[in-house]
């Protein structure tokens, strides 16, 4: 008997996130641990008249490639992968690890080589996504490994994941349409802001956001979702920030990161643990010391840190600031091999000023954005 929440999640992704219609070719990427969700997605895609096909990976394959592959094999991008990325209409990625730390001891240089080759493919994927030729949604199917990472039982973790997606409710799509209207209005309101100032414990950071586009992440590209983000002006970030949550990059944790910015660049970096790794990543390339993203986490169903960026960056009442590559669609220009989301908890003491005006306190915007009536109507 399938968990009804899994069936609803599949329905939500097919109908709402991907807006899949008749005749669309959709590939479902999943690890074998995610089979129940992958099969539910397959059936739901059939139901709406699409042409679905599964692309299943068994646990441990990446590790084999990293351990036994030659340089040529690591860098090989199959013509079959190219063909697929050029021809599919939609793609669902279901993250579902049986062991979230299985790559911890693998040679980082070889991982970088593999990643570099695969990046050509993902760049092309993003190009098609941004042109509207390809729909993509990333989601997660709960496993013991993810639960363990979050220090939860798998049952509690399932409750957490499904609540964050609102699939424990009867009509999740209706909820997400409301979220979309509300986040869209918030993004529009932020559009007129020229400078943000973030105050918190050991934190006083000023960011320029003039003429940048704020984007509402409303469950289309990620499920769950719930943030508004932009790319800040590359040269204007000034001041200090302390990240209370551990910063995680490729499974490695850096605790209690403190950064000082001058003229947009990180000029001092410290951490209680993992400082060397932090500085290595900052030196990755020229763009790694510059912020590529600033965002508000606004999903209040996500109320705890679970060591998974899909959820953590959306924790209601947090902000995240990513070092590295920016979003061109937001007007960002920074380029880097790095995109490292670091999350700052502003739920207890945080204050945010927009052009000098207090707009956020203790984890919430002080006013609801004005949702335009027509949007509210559509979303009802």
């Amino acid at each position: 008997m399938i968990d009804p929440r899994v069936a609803r999640l599949a329905e939500l992704i097919v109908a709402y996130s991907l807006d899949l219609g008749e005749g669309k070719v959709v590939r479902i990427d999943a690890l074998d641990a995610a089979s129940p969700l992958a099969l539910a997605l397959y059936k739901e895609a059939l139901r709406v008249g699409a042409f679905p096909y599964p692309h299943v990976l068994v646990e441990g394959i990446l590790e084999l490639l990293l351990e036994h592959g030659s340089d040529e094999q690591l860098e090989f991008v199959s013509p079959l992968q190219w063909h697929e990325i050029e021809t599919i209409d939609a793609l669902v990625t279901v993250w579902s690890e049986a062991n979230t730390r299985s790559l911890t001891r693998m040679d980082p240089e070889r991982q970088a080589r593999l990643l570099g080759a695969q990046r050509k493919l993902s760049n092309r994927r993003w190009e098609r996504i941004s042109r509207g030729e390809l729909r993509w949604c990333g989601t997660l199917y709960p496993t013991s490994a993810h639960a363990q990472e979050a220090a939860m039982s798998v049952e509690d973790y399932e409750d957490f994941v499904f609540a964050a997606c609102h699939v424990d409710e009867e009509e999740p799509a209706a909820h997400w349409r409301l979220v979309s209207a509300s986040l869209g209005a918030r993004a529009e309101e932020l559009e007129s802001v020229r400078q943000l100032r973030v105050l918190g414990p050991d934190t006083d950071l000023r960011l320029g956001v003039a003429d940048r586009k704020w984007i509402a992440a409303d469950g289309r590209y990620n499920m769950p979702d719930g943030e508004v983000f932009t790319s800040p002006v590359e040269t204007e970030t000034e001041g200090e920030i302390r990240y209370t949550f551990p910063a995680i990059y490729q499974g490695r944790e850096v605790d209690d990161v403190r950064l000082r910015f001058e003229g947009g660049r990180v000029v001092a970096a410290e951490a209680a643990r993992g400082g060397d790794y932090l500085r290595t990543l900052l030196d990755m390339d020229d763009g790694a010391r510059v912020l590529g993203e600033v965002a508000f986490g606004l999903n209040y169903e996500i109320n705890r840190f679970t060591r998974n960026i899909l959820f953590d960056e959306k924790i209601g009442g947090t902000m995240h600031f990513a070092l590295g590559s920016a979003f061109p669609q937001a007007g960002g220009a920074n380029t880097s091999g790095l995109h490292w989301d670091m999350i700052c908890d502003l739920r207890e003491e945080g204050e945010i000023y927009a052009d000098g005006e207090l707009v956020w306190k203790a984890g919430h915007f002080l006013s609801e954005p004005a949702v335009r009536p027509v949007e509210a109507l559509e979303s009802a």
Partner: protein, 370 residues
């Protein structure tokens, strides 16, 4: 503790059956229950210098498609599969069922429709296989479902499967090479014959094989293997045959199939279980009422009937006949979306005549045959 025989199986499939070379694009086509063999194959292909590409479906996707898919969805063949058929140097197909009867409740007409739609893809595989551009092997990863069909425990069934593949021997590749040479001689000798007559219980069938090539199957296209097969002359089959072994095909079981041929075509058919399915398969297309293959099973390591064709058709002392598509390398020209092997036990009270001369009795070729 992983079964060491899984790694040996992978090494034989990669090293012997498909002889993967540096730069080969190798498709591993299977289902999630075979995960441990997938990892072993992936590693072996990397070590041989190839580029492994996984094509793994979901346990249950075909069932969902057949039950709820529209006609358009049944007819759709993923263009990526054509791309794979065009570009792959090697394909290793691993059957791994969690339930061999899962399609029992599906409308056979819909199965036939899907098979017809996929015929061009199959055709592409046959073409590239015949020219040697694509090396393709089919094998099975032992699951509880297959063990259950064989009425064995999983452990017993694993012993059976790996034993049939000579994986308990010191050098399985060498064992296959020498066995292959031996059955090659039998194949060459049969190549000179014009007509076979099979006589057994409820069976008296004449099969024309003049001008056709007998192929010795030595573990390169099926694994395990051990048969010699040909494509019979399409219009030649006359008489009756009764397939004593039940067949699991298309996700269901069909038992005690009896066929009568006239002028090469099935004119009467019966089965004690799955008769509707049998009729639907026979009606699939123009070629599905004709035999595309006739073969003798010669693997003396496979002695027991286990309900799976890959093994049953290799049992030393059996013959099998496939309805539908013939293999071009035999000279056979029958075309069909169907290729369904049905196995007949010849180990007791059976005789085979070649051009009127008795050459085979009770499961063995007589002296005079190589």
């Amino acid at each position: 503790m992983p079964d060491a025989r899984v790694q040996r199986l992978a090494e034989v499939l990669v090293g012997y059956s498909t002889a993967v070379r540096k730069g080969d694009l190798v498709i591993i086509d299977t289902s999630p229950p075979a995960a441990s063999l997938v990892r072993a194959l992936y590693r072996s292909v990397l070590e041989a210098g190839g580029h492994p590409y996984l094509r793994i479906d979901l346990d249950g996707d075909v069932e969902a498609l057949l039950k709820q898919g529209s006609d358009a969805q049944l007819d759709w063949v993923n263009p990526t599969l054509f791309e794979q058929a065009k570009r792959a140097d090697v394909e290793i197909a691993v059957e791994a069922d969690s339930n061999t009867r899962r399609l029992s409740g599906v409308d056979p007409a819909r199965q036939a429709r899907r098979a017809r739609a996929r015929e061009p893809l199959r055709e592409r595989y046959f073409e590239r296989g015949a020219t040697g551009e694509l090396r393709r092997v089919v094998t099975l990863y032992p699951t509880s479902a297959n063990a259950q069909d064989a009425e064995m425990s999983l452990g017993e069934y694993e012993d059976f499967v790996y034993g049939a593949g000579f994986l308990d021997r010191d050098d399985p590749g060498a064992a296959w090479r020498s066995f292959g040479e031996q059955i090659e001689r039998t194949a060459a000798w049969l190549g000179e014959k014009k007509e076979l007559r099979i006589v057994a219980e409820d069976t008296d069938l004449t099969v024309g094989v003049a001008g056709r090539t007998w192929v010795a199957s030595d573990g390169k296209e099926n694994f395990p293997d051990g048969e010699i097969f040909t494509g019979p002359v399409e219009t030649s089959l006359e008489g009756l045959i009764r397939f004593t072994f039940p067949a699991t095909f298309g996700g269901r079981r069909i038992s005690d199939v009896q066929l009568r041929f006239e002028g090469g075509e099935v004119v009467e058919s019966r089965a004690s279980e799955g008769e509707d399915f049998l009729r639907e398969m026979l009606a699939m297309d123009d070629g599905s009422r004709r035999a595309g293959e006739f073969a003798f099973g010669l693997n003396e390591g496979v002695t027991e009937f286990t309900g799976h064709t890959l093994f049953d058709e290799k049992i030393g002392g059996t013959c099998h006949l496939a309805l539908g598509r013939s293999y071009p390398e035999t000279g056979g020209v029958n075309l069909s979306a169907l290729h369904w092997d049905l196995v007949c036990d010849l180990r007791t009270a059976s005789e085979v005549y070649a051009d009127g001369e008795l050459v085979y009795r009770d499961g063995r070729f007589l002296d005079g045959a190589p």
